[in-house]
């Protein structure tokens, strides 16, 4: 565990250089990636990235530095962080860095199969996946596959020490279909911790089918209609629109539309949303966050009422609360260079008791919305977004794909307008959610 020792030493050096408190976050990641472009292998990449980020605190002022290699003078790295901290202004809102606590060991975060994948095997998987997308009218298939194994290290001047190992497999597929007149495309992707948690072949086949189906997509009308939201589109609503809006920093600064809503009803009785840093095999599951606070479960919305916020040690100190283990660096858990911020871990929306068919039966005329690339305006809660993948629903039946159609809803109205939650949850990156039926969404389209 050489990197842990380096983390501890740099913390010591920072204290010697005049820091009141200091921490170091080390990452050692071996990553390999293959890119398949238009059905053909284009790039095989393999990179070993090792480094650590250092924070020094002087009178509450935080200074940062990092190293992206280990053959450097630790004293210099530490003194750079201290120099930065000394240049800043005292900040009485800073209370303290996390104190030592025990870490639980969430399951299914390390997979030998992923850890032992060779570049050749990754290429073979990629090549066999492309074959699953071959169908009439499929024009191009682009696939990116990335496997990594990593160890994260944390140490601070309060005596916090942690080591956490893990693996990732991330996958993205993009299929374009053409019929001489129209062009259509389909996307999907996911990040998992174990090979057994992903069925890439089915994903590719489904995306190819969606791309081909998309060729007969229709525009829709401009109207208020009921809609079922399922899959990736819920990332924009539940992760970005709800969990991220309950980031304590945004709330404390009144930058979130949910800022003043703690302990108030914001959604229907059936709605419960949890930030779960310990969910088995979750993409953001781990023993600790980037400052060494234990990952945990935090209820954000319980039976429609806002119950919790996401904290790091800074916002927790300011609010006299406990960190919820949601400290994050701007580039995620494997980033040691970026600023320490707050981000949701894995977000779980509790399932309801409706089957998808029952939900569809409620829709006389409406939409099934599966994906958008858009994000809500965090300050206002407004989301007006292009439907990248969605279907027209008529008399309870899923009909043809929809194109050139935008939906618009305020997240607050969405939460209050939930009519039904499905009984089966599915995973989409760091979101675990059932489909959700909302009584009324503004849609605008050509016709």
């Amino acid at each position: 565990m050489a990197l842990l020792d380096l983390c501890k030493r740099v913390v010591l050096e920072a204290s010697r250089s005049g820091a009141d408190a200091a921490d170091a976050y080390g990452v050692d990641v071996e990553l390999q990636r293959v890119e398949i472009r238009k059905g053909d292998i284009k790039v095989s990449k393999s990179v070993h990235d090792v480094g650590m980020g250092v924070r020094a605190i002087v009178k509450g002022s935080v200074g940062y530095s990092y190293v992206a290699s280990l053959d450097v003078d630790l004293r210099e790295v530490a003194s750079r962080a201290v120099k930065a901290a000394k240049a800043g202004y005292p900040d009485p809102d800073f209370k303290e860095l996390p104190r030592p606590s025990s870490y639980s060991s969430p399951g299914n975060t390390y997979d030998d199969k992923i850890a032992s994948l060779t570049p050749e095997e990754l290429i073979d998987i990629g090549v066999s996946l492309v074959k699953k997308a071959q169908a009439d009218k499929v024009y191009s298939v682009n696939v990116a596959l990335e496997s990594s194994k990593f160890t994260r290290f944390v140490a601070n001047s309060n005596g916090v020490e942690g080591v956490d190992q893990g693996t990732y497999l991330s996958f993205a597929v993009h299929v374009t279909a053409r019929d001489g007149v129209n062009t259509s495309s389909g996307y999907d992707g996911d990040v998992v911790r174990a090979m057994k948690d992903i069925d890439m072949e089915s994903m590719v086949a489904r995306v190819a089918q969606e791309a081909v189906e998309g060729l007969r997509a229709r525009t829709y009308k401009t109207a208020k209609v009921p809609a079922i939201f399922s899959g990736d589109v819920l990332l924009a609503i539940m992760v970005e629109g709800v969990a991220s809006a309950l980031n304590a920093d945004l709330v404390q600064r009144n930058r979130s539309f949910l800022a003043a809503r703690l302990n108030q009803r914001v959604g229907v009785e059936e709605l419960t949303v949890v930030d779960d840093g310990l969910v088995e095999g979750g993409p953001l599951t781990g023993k600790f966050d980037v400052e060494g606070s234990p990952r945990q479960r935090t209820v954000l919305v319980e039976r429609g009422v806002v119950k919790g916020l996401l904290h790091n040690s800074y916002t927790a100190g300011k609010a006299e609360a406990r960190s919820t283990g949601n400290a994050s660096r701007s580039g995620g858990p494997l980033d040691f260079r970026g600023q320490v911020t707050i981000a949701p871990s894995n977000v779980r929306v509790e399932a309801g008791d409706w089957s998808l068919d029952e939900m569809l039966e409620e829709v006389e005329e409406g939409l099934l919305i599966l994906n958008t690339f858009d994000l809500p305006n965090m300050a206002s809660g407004d989301l007006s977004a292009l439907i990248v993948q969605g279907y027209i629903v008529e008399k309870g039946e899923v009909k043809c794909p929809v194109k050139q159609t935008l939906f618009a809803i305020n997240i607050a109205d969405f939460l209050k307008g939930i009519k039904a939650l499905g009984r089966e949850s599915s995973k989409h990156f760091n979101l675990y959610s059932p489909p959700i039926l909302v009584s009324e969404v503004q849609v605008s389209s050509k016709a």
Partner: protein, 466 residues
């Protein structure tokens, strides 16, 4: 570049050329920087950036093997070279690609010397500037409830050599300042944003008063408090230079990247020499404009571009290229290969991309509009590149009646198909201006400039909540 770095790179290329490769290149990158962020009277971060590493790439039968290392001992570099070759070799199993990237054996060097070296200005002084900007925003009104300022200075150095005999090095410092203000009143929260940046040293901030940047951000947030929801429907739309610039970058520029074209992901595939916009439309990508944030005298493959006319009077004239895509399409490289750092593989990217100035005065654009909208500022946009379908969020939108601005609206989005919009361009004004920003593609961020004059387009779909 330090002479020991040059020696390391030369040694690595020799090592790669010892294998049976069709092409190889080596890029040694050094990055230094400082980022300061002030929020609500407090310092959020003062962060020093400092790293260097080696990127190694080789091509075997059309397949790239790529690796990078921040460990620069001879043994580490040798190991990394062997790995790059092994990756390409195993990827090339059974492949028979004949096209090999090529460039002239030449020596290029470019160094931007700052007029005022940022390292001669103390961290304390830079922090004070950020704090003063933050105070300026707060002082604009009691309704400004939260404000933040970010200052970033970077110094990139690279030494690039390849198997065609090219030797290139560059040194480009850059600087960017941005201000964000949140105004709230009666439960409504609105955001204003403004930024300024360029390549060069601390003198970049002399070109524009930083307090003016701060004022613009707070003014925008305050104005939006009084804005209404936008109208929905199809309108004649005047885009301001910021939004038109963002549009040409996101909705059109990405489709011009030749790697996207070769991947079957571009609406512009097969369109070379054909009409893609009205006569009014001229689009350029010009990495040679000194001082702009997207100035790239030499790209990550060592190629110095001379500027590309992408669209001339509505007709598609060129894609943007790296060495490989230009070899495949039988044209010259355009100097658009860019990588975020040594850990990333170069991709085809834009630099300073803009709609060139037209012949209209700005007020002439408005005069003829009986009923329309004036859209200002781009918050963000996204595009389905294969379909060419886009959405843009503008910061502000005014309704126009009888040539006059009427109601201010917020949260408006514009959507449609890229080529429809370019075909519907009625008039391009003569007031070209530029904006700095960062562009993301597959997780890699590079500094770019977007630019345009005011542009009038008929039949644009405006959507909103009401």
């Amino acid at each position: 570049m330090k002479s020991d770095y040059v020696a390391i790179a030369e040694k690595a290329l020799d090592e790669l050329l010892g294998f049976r490769v069709d092409f190889a290149d080596v890029r040694l990158v050094e990055l230094k920087g400082l980022r300061i962020e002030v929020i609500d009277g407090r310092v959020r971060e003062i962060r020093f950036m400092n790293e260097r590493g080696l990127a190694l790439r080789c091509l075997v039968a059309g397949k790239w093997g790529f690796t990078s290392t921040s460990f620069l001992t001879p043994a580490d570099v040798e190991k990394a070279c062997a790995r790059a070759y092994k990756l390409a070799k195993s990827a090339s199993k059974g492949a028979e690609e004949k096209v090999v990237p090529y460039c002239k054996p030449a020596r290029y060097s470019s160094r931007v010397v700052p007029v005022e070296d940022p390292s001669s200005v103390s961290v304390e002084e830079k922090l004070k500037l950020c704090s003063d900007m933050e105070k300026t925003m707060k002082e604009a009104s009691n309704n400004i409830k939260s404000a933040s300022v970010a200052y970033v200075e970077l110094e990139e150095r690279a030494y690039i050599i390849n198997s065609s005999g090219l030797r290139a090095d560059y040194e480009v410092p850059s600087l960017l300042v941005s201000a964000t203000a949140y105004a709230s009143e009666a439960g409504v929260v609105q955001r204003g944003y403004e930024s300024h940046g360029g390549t060069g040293g601390f003198e970049v901030l002399k070109a524009r008063d930083p307090m003016d940047i701060a004022q613009r951000a707070s003014e925008e947030a305050l104005e939006l408090l009084r804005a209404k929801g936008p109208p929905a429907g199809r309108f004649t739309c005047i885009l301001d230079p910021e939004l038109a610039g963002l549009f040409i970058h996101e909705a059109f520029g990405h489709a011009c990247e030749a790697d996207a074209v070769l991947q079957g992901n571009s609406i512009l595939e097969g369109m070379m020499g054909r009409r893609v916009g009205s006569e009014e439309v001229v689009v350029r990508d010009d990495p040679t404009i000194k001082g702009l944030f997207g100035y790239v005298p030499i790209d990550s493959e060592g190629v110095g571009g001379s500027g590309t006319v992408i669209v001339d009077r509505g007709v598609l004239r060129s894609y943007l290229h790296n060495l490989e895509t230009s070899a495949k399409m039988g044209v010259s490289p355009t100097g658009n290969a860019r990588a975020q750092g040594y850990g990333s593989i170069p991709m085809v990217r834009m630099t300073n991309t803009f709609i060139d100035r037209g012949g209209w005065n700005v007020d002439e654009l408005f005069r003829d509009v009986k009923r329309g909208v004036y859209a200002q500022g781009g918050v963000y946009g996204y595009v389905d590149p294969a379909k060419g379908e886009f959405v843009f969020k503008c910061s502000k939108l005014y309704t126009i009646e009888g040539g006059e601005l009427k109601q201010l609206c917020r949260d408006a989005s514009l959507s449609g198909f890229t080529l429809d919009v370019l075909m519907n361009v009625e008039a391009v004004a003569n007031d070209l201006s530029f904006r700095p920003g960062f562009c993301g593609k597959e997780g890699q961020y590079v500094r770019v400039t977007t630019g345009a004059p005011h542009v009038r387009v008929r039949d644009v779909v405006v959507g909103g909540l009401e």
